[in-house]
């Protein structure tokens, strides 16, 4: 087993991420500044769709942005459709990423095929953007099984419900890859609330100590259900936690697709090149309630929500790309059509009645069911056969 180094980033921009000391800890002020985030979240395209220059991060090229923008449009449609399906009783619940689609899309698109994504329950759009079938993705929320897709097919782990635990699984996948000499980067996602869990701490520390290729990506959407960020942390920013593990932290405007692609992309490249883990905090907002079961008006004002409307990730990318004449009317319609297709597929899939097999209850608990489970399965079979008489 050897440590992979993989392809190296081309064209250093003088980004502190590139120069991170790789071995002995160093507590000089210079070393500190490598790890502390910039004083404001990185922004490359402002809410009006104008490019903002940043020394560290060049603007991704237009093609790349256009491809990503298409996914944004689809992502928004996925959120809308999922909400509708919950209202129609086809899904139990849906934690929407409305407003956070730029984070979702960037997380998926900055990874290569051999890389792994570790999403949470809210990251449905990221899961789909990475190629997982929409119906398989929504199986969990439709309620016929705890997960619907094969994690190995697209290298997407199951959507984690217990908060922060998945970050450690991500670290383990990265560690195994490193030991096997594989050139894998792992994107490990969590929310602002999840950063308070002990497992967040342990995951970042393990990744740093073992110098693993993990990009920790915190979507700070300002709320953990009803709890605002200020009751979660009084740190200068969540990205300031990075230095406590000896890794660089960075903040990024989470509604700016270009900035996200830049910062996450750099983190992925750096990790792949053997630079170790990074922590990226995206500053965004959960536009809707926690899930459909939640009522956000109980804990936040309408004004607060309204203030975020103009920062919408789609609007700004549309302005920017239209301004460059890269995004045409036709393309817009094409993307809308693509989104409509996904939505239609979601409707079809979720409106279809599914047959569940009660014996599945026992099939996957162990590779070889125990005598106890065989006995219990037989009892259930017997019970059901008598009922169906």
């Amino acid at each position: 087993m050897t440590t992979s180094t993989g392809k190296n980033r081309k064209g250093s921009t003088g980004n502190p991420l590139d120069h991170m000391p790789r071995t002995a800890p160093d507590s000089s002020r210079a070393a500190e500044s490598f790890m502390l985030p910039q004083t404001a979240p990185v922004q490359l395209v402002d809410p009006d769709g104008r490019h903002v220059h940043n020394d560290m991060y060049p603007l991704p090229d237009g093609r790349q942005l256009l491809t990503a923008y298409r996914q944004l449009v689809i992502g928004r449609r996925v959120n809308d459709q999922a909400n509708a399906l919950v209202r129609q009783g086809r899904m139990a619940v849906y934690p929407s990423s409305h407003g956070q689609e730029a984070c979702q899309v960037a997380a998926a698109l900055t990874l290569g095929d051999g890389d792994w994504l570790f999403p949470t329950y809210r990251d449905t759009v990221a899961v789909m953007a990475r190629g997982v079938d929409p119906i398989q993705t929504l199986t969990l929320l439709r309620g016929d099984w705890h997960g619907g897709y094969d994690p190995y097919e697209h290298k997407v782990s199951i959507q984690a419900t217990p908060l922060a635990t998945q970050l450690l699984h991500a670290v383990g996948v990265a560690h195994a890859a490193k030991l096997k000499g594989e050139n894998t980067v792992v994107m490990a996602m969590c929310g602002d609330g999840a950063t308070s869990e002990g497992d967040f701490h342990e995951a970042l520390n393990f990744a740093a100590v073992f110098h693993l290729p993990v990009v920790f990506f915190v979507q700070n959407n300002q709320y953990a259900i009803s709890v605002p960020l200020k009751h979660q942390s009084v740190a200068p920013s969540l990205a300031h936690k990075a230095i406590g593990y000896g890794m660089p932290g960075e903040r990024v405007d989470g509604n700016d697709l270009a900035a996200l692609l830049g910062v996450l992309g750099k983190g992925v490249d750096r990790a792949r090149a053997g630079g170790g883990p990074v922590l990226v905090e995206a500053h965004t907002y959960r536009m809707q309630s926690h899930t459909n079961a939640d009522d956000a008006t109980r804990y936040r004002t309408d004004e607060e929500v309204q203030a975020w409307l103009p920062k919408d990730p789609i609007i700004r990318m549309r302005s920017y790309l239209s301004g460059l004449h890269l995004l045409t009317e036709e393309l817009e319609q094409e993307f809308a059509g693509d989104a409509e297709q996904v939505a239609a597929r979601m409707r079809d899939g979720l409106n279809a009645e599914v047959q569940v097999d009660p014996e599945d209850l026992f099939r996957f608990v162990y590779t070889n069911p125990t005598p106890q489970l065989r006995e219990q399965a037989a009892k259930l079979r017997d019970e059901l056969s008598r009922e169906s008489l």
């Binding site: 705890h146 259900i225 009660p358 106890q372």
Partner: protein, 344 residues
């Protein structure tokens, strides 16, 4: 004496909410905290209105960290307060497991009783609500197996109110299990009368529930022993059995630790047959314990082995499959049928 009854329809959830408010009113050292218990009032609204009424210092949200919540509660209880913490769902109490097992349960013993931990750990638990995984675990056996914890699970609106107040006044840490699917169950309750019992006399006047099982329905042919979410199912089964001419006694255990051997044993000695019903996976569970105790104590009265209707030994299933998992009236009646009646 003409008693004025002031019965109102109360939900299980509202009974808990009222109990919290009443205890906070009665005792300024009671503090409530956890995830989303403040302005939101908890995801099940059990703490609804408490922050508004008692202020942010008495009912507040914490950062999202269950071990943190539990560990902080230990320290607060050490220092003169009576914390009532909410774990948002059963499976989300697991991060606090070390704090519960190694500290909450052991602190009074370790300090030879110098440090008491009068705290309540409220856990919405068990299934039957179509929840996704990790939201439906029946975790009572982990706690009941841990010496030093008092573990209770009310099944009626009255017990929800009374047992929560009693738990808050209890000198030792109590794991208070709230069957989620009963939150919306209702009953006619004379609340002012219930409340009145908690005056100067305190818990004593109200009659203790901790450590006391209750005969929820009398019967003579066999005993159904159960608790928490399965109590209504057992009562329905007894009702159905009665229609078929079989008289089943139903015992609501209510207090898992301490366990009321007396009530359970008396019933089984009378009926000679017993079925233990619980939603948790059966293996090495509270249900196993009840079976073991009953056969130890009632062996010569038993006409048949003590049987169990429990969850299967599998992770709690997805919503569309939970109907096959949960103890059902039919499954209970089938099991009662297996109690070797032919030999009677």
């Amino acid at each position: 004496m003409t008693a004025t009854t002031t019965s109102t329809t109360l939900t299980f959830a509202k009974a808990l909410n009222t109990a919290l408010a009443d205890e906070m009113e009665a005792d300024p050292t009671v503090v409530v905290f956890g995830e989303d218990v403040g302005p939101l009032g908890g995801v099940f609204r059990i703490t609804d209105g408490l922050t508004k009424r008692f202020g942010e210092e008495r009912c507040f949200d914490t950062p999202l960290a269950e071990s943190g919540i539990m560990g902080m509660a230990v320290g607060m209880a050490m220092n003169g307060l009576r914390p009532v913490v909410e774990m948002q769902f059963d499976a989300f109490a697991y991060p606090a497991f070390e704090q519960v097992v190694s500290h909450v349960a052991k602190m009074p013993n370790r300090t030879r009783g110098k440090v008491k931990l009068p705290m309540v750990i409220r856990i919405p638990y068990a299934g039957g609500i179509g929840g996704v995984e990790h939201h439906c675990d029946s975790s009572e056996s982990y706690y009941a197996h841990t010496p030093g914890l008092t573990v209770v699970a009310p099944a009626t609106v009255q017990d929800a109110y009374t047992m929560l107040r009693e738990s808050i006044r209890h000198p030792d840490p109590v794991v208070f299990l709230e069957p989620k699917k009963l939150y919306w169950s209702k009953d006619e309750v004379d609340l002012p009368a219930l409340q009145a019992r908690w005056g100067a006399g305190g818990a004593a006047a109200a009659g203790p529930r901790i450590g006391r099982a209750v005969v929820a329905r009398e019967g003579s042919d066999a005993t159904l022993i159960t608790y928490g979410p399965s109590v209504p199912t057992a009562l329905q089964a007894a009702e159905a059995a009665a229609a078929e001419g079989r008289s089943l006694e139903v015992i609501d255990v209510r207090s898992l630790v301490p366990f009321d051997d007396e009530t359970v044993t008396a019933s089984v000695r009378k009926t000679g047959r017993a079925v233990v019903i619980a939603e948790a996976p059966g293996f090495a569970s509270v249900a196993s314990e009840i079976v073991a105790r009953v056969q130890e104590r009632c062996f010569h009265s038993l006409a048949a082995p003590v049987l169990r209707v429990t969850g299967f030994d599998i992770p709690y299933p997805a919503p569309k499959l939970e109907q096959y998992y949960l103890p059902s009236v039919d499954r209970i009646l089938d099991t009662v049928d297996e109690l070797q009646w032919e030999e009677a």
